[in-house]
Amino acid sequence: MAVTMAQAINQALKDAMGADDRVLMFGEDVGRLGGVFRVTDGLQEMFGEERCFDTPLAESGIIGTAIGLAMYGYRPIAEMQFDGFTYPAFEQIVSHLAKMPNRSRGTVKLPVTVRIPFGGGIGAVEHHSESPEAYWAHTAGLKVFTPGTPEDGYSMMREAIESDDPVIFLEPKRRYWMKSDQQLPVTTQPAREAVVRREGTDVSVFCYGPMVRTAMEAADAAADEGWSLEIVDLRSLAPLDTASIVASVKRTGRAIVVHEAARNLGLGAEIAARIQEGAFYHLEAPVLRATGFDTPYPPAKLEEYWLPDVDRILDAVERSLAY
């Protein structure tokens, strides 16, 4: 039976809560409603109101109390309802969640998982389609995971909950309905390892989260042009699997980074820097980026012009091959 990304994450939450009664799930509308994307569906019924509960509508409060609960000994999973509403919690995440273990010289552990549906492509009203991953990846003390497949949705979520380090778990909301025939539970590679989703010889394409499927579609289309793309799903944005990135570029000699987030100072900039440090003499072309534009996220009717798609990736491939 096919399972969607949302169902896979839901199953991971259920299994984690069943395995360890210190695991709590809370946020806005996650209880009775089961979350606006139904990712927490059934949890309150299964585990009661003290294990899965609705909080007041206050994101800083959700993260700040998650920190206190973690200090007490719980393993909180906190949901931010949408990417664009994480900003009220920015201070708690950056000044406390990320730093407190270090400030305390390791005496305080904060095994908090912050679930954030992120990215665009669903025709949402403004503030519901953002890609804030660079903020989190830039912040020392956080791990940042984003699954590109339902299998990873399950396995990486289990890993995030079991991690003693705080994890920002970015759920690609446009892929919530993406299906797989995989039976759950499933254990995939550790999140810190990038995975080659498709081997290729001409150009390495580095992608994550919602862009994994787009990049795979681009690889199909590229094959029609006679171009062989290697698709690398990064999975973890902090840490980044530099070794796998460099190894892929050494095989192909060309690299393109794809993300929805705006180009300026996005993950692509960091990945390009690591590639030129690690594979300088193997490069046949500059590292190129196929990303969102350096503008605020557009209104829904214009998002198709803003978001990177198969054409934007193929255009980058063509430019890369032209060197």
């Binding site: 109390t65 920190i67 007490y72 840490p239």
Partner: protein, 386 residues
């Protein structure tokens, strides 16, 4: 799935939190709770009976004296270049010592950066605390050893940690209370509001203890709020707001004690506003002569919490030359200990920068660890050659 046909029910009233009260009783009384005058005269208050032994009364005094001595020592250490900066709690000893003393040993404290007095009640190593200000490391105590969280500099943010911790204690069925300190300025920040909202809804066993020391650096209370008092804010979150004379250690103790009992009985959070005065600068980097007058300081000195408690003890024949000597000696010894721990203390091990960032650091900064090690080795070699 069919739509529910009935009106949504009211939020579940948990039996342990059931408290039928007139919300108007959550408003603060007209006058702050005050038990001892400046000259030491004690006023009985049936709502706040004096339940302390003579030894405990002396102990409160001793803790305040030691706090002031260490506080003064910290200012001296800063003047001598030994601390980068220091935030004095002079004048607030009664607010901190009395409230912290009202907690049980299993209860937790979530301080701001000015809570030396509360830390000393918890027997946190005073020299260790000051390493934050020296820049040796970002903290030097294990919160779980003292049930005293790390000092928190971003204003008011720790209120949420206390609230979350108290939620956890309640889920866990343990009679543990969490208390957080912030200041009058902190009541303008968002996080204490969110904390009180959460605590009110969840009926968490948490106490919001506000030291209203009249100033947020240079900005006076009148520019911080238009509320009648800070304690009036509490009713908006569904919790009682209480006020006390923050320079009266018996009042801060008694009011906090009631809040602790309320929390432990399952009735939820309390907001306490302790009226006090920051007798020193905001920090050693501040120049308060730019925003307050000598007359104001002279008037504040008359409300000194330590002199008041000494007068109280004297009137009760609990204070004599012998006690004075013993307490002074102990205060001096603690200050000497702090000085010895801080003065010319070596900085931390640079390699420790990487040690506590992650429990699983794989993939994060191996190359940078190697880089710093190489830089240190090369600096060491250069020194060897010199």
């Amino acid at each position: 799935m069919s739509e529910p046909t009935t009106e949504p029910s009211a939020p579940t009233d948990r039996p342990d939190g059931a408290e039928e009260v007139d919300p108007l009783t959550w408003l603060p009384a007209d006058e702050p709770v005050h038990l001892v005058d400046a000259d030491g005269t004690y006023h009985e208050d049936p709502d706040h009976p004096l339940d302390l032994t003579d030894e405990q009364l002396r102990e409160l005094y001793r803790l305040m004296v030691v706090t002031r001595k260490v506080d003064r020592e910290a200012i001296n250490l800063q003047r001598q270049g030994q601390l980068g900066v220091y935030a004095s709690c002079m004048g607030q000893e009664a607010a901190q010592v009395g409230s912290a003393y009202a907690l049980g040993t299993d209860d937790w404290i979530f301080p701001s950066y000015r809570e030396l007095g509360a830390a000393l009640v918890r027997e946190v190593d005073a020299a260790g605390l000051l390493h934050l200000y020296r820049g040796t490391w970002l903290s030097d105590h294990d919160p779980y050893e003292h049930n005293f969280a790390l000092m928190s500099i971003p204003i008011g943010t720790q209120a949420l940690h206390a609230t979350g911790f108290a939620m956890g204690a309640k889920f866990d069925g343990k009679p543990i209370v969490a208390m957080t300190y912030f200041g009058d300025g902190g009541t303008s920040e968002g996080d204490p509001h969110e904390a009180m909202t959460f605590a009110g809804v969840m009926r968490s066993p948490v106490i919001f203890f506000v030291q209203n020391n009249q100033y947020a650096i240079s900005v006076p209370l009148a520019k911080q709020t238009a509320a009648p008092t800070l304690a009036h804010k509490a009713i908006g979150y569904g919790l009682p707001g209480r006020r006390c004379d923050g320079n009266d250690v018996l009042a801060t103790y008694a009011v906090t004690r009631r809040a602790v009992e309320r929390a432990r009985a399952g009735h939820g959070p309390t907001f306490i506003e302790a009226m006090t005065y920051r007798m020193e600068a905001h920090t050693t980097s501040d120049d308060p002569s730019r925003y307050r007058t000598k007359e104001e300081l002279d008037a504040a000195a008359l409300t000194d919490p330590i002199a008041r408690m000494r007068n109280f003890l004297t009137k009760r024949d609990l204070y004599d030359a012998e006690l004075e000597t013993a307490i002074d000696d102990q205060a001096k010894a603690t200050a000497t200990y702090v000085r010895a721990g801080i003065y010319d203390a070596p900085h931390g091990d640079p390699m420790e920068l990487f040690e506590h960032v992650y429990t699983d650091p794989r993939g994060h900064f191996e190359d940078q660890v190697a880089q710093l090690r190489a830089e240190l080795d090369s600096a060491g070699d250069a020194e060897g050659q010199g």
